[in-house]
Symmetry: C2
């Protein structure tokens, strides 16, 4: 179940428009998509750098997961998402090895991917996401 | 000065050996190098996932930058390093655009790269590193 690459990095920001401006104007990346994920109470902006995406996350409500993260820790890197070929097998494998899962089953994420989170208490403090293309 | 890819992610951990075990045994990645960077007061372990490296960082002293980071925020993602073709030009460009630099000039990092950090107050909370191969 070796991850193929880092699919994206999630970065929590207070103000999506200001952060987009930094990633575009200063770093020279191009925002190719802005999407609201109601389930996660976020507005997201996507950039591509090499094979990895940067996903900026602005909370649409203070009591959402990103709002709470920023209140506690400030803006910054929120999670790493690894691309895996088979998310169901990957979840089963890591659970058998003692990892605590936030999502026991995959659920729909941004960009039409199936996603699931592992608990940072099991992953040395790194909120870790698996994602894979939907099985058809 | 567009970054070509994410060269590595730095992750602060309390115990390098335990964290290596997680990345190898649970995630299936392979540690290919362990290196001490005395300048940064860290022991590092490297993994490759796609085109990006994961660099685990264990502090060799409580008063080093990683020791202080963990004391304040706990284990977790410490920085993002973007690969750039010309680190001197990249630093000059972002400084002209108002970014505060931690390193005004590149310095030697792990894996024989030239590196420099941008201050997270200028980069929406993300400690950001540029790195490039040494100019010969």
């Amino acid at each position: 179940m070796i991850p193929t690459h880092i699919e994206h990095l999630g970065i929590a920001v207070n103000n999506l428009d200001e952060a987009i401006n930094y990633y575009e104007d200063v770093l020279g990346l191009k925002c190719y998509s802005i999407e609201e994920v109601q389930d996660q109470k976020v507005r997201t902006a996507f950039f591509k750098v090499g094979e990895t995406k940067i996903e900026l996350l602005e909370s649409t409500t203070p009591d959402g997961p990103i709002g709470k993260f920023i209140e506690k820790r400030g803006q910054g890197i929120h999670h790493i998402a690894f691309a895996v070929n088979d998310i169901n097998t990957s979840l089963k494998t890591v659970k058998e090895k003692g990892v605590r899962l936030i999502d026991e089953e995959p659920r729909p994420g941004a960009e039409s991917l199936d996603i699931a989170f592992l608990h940072p208490k099991s992953t040395f403090g790194v909120l870790t996401e698996f994602c894979s293309k939907k099985a058809n």
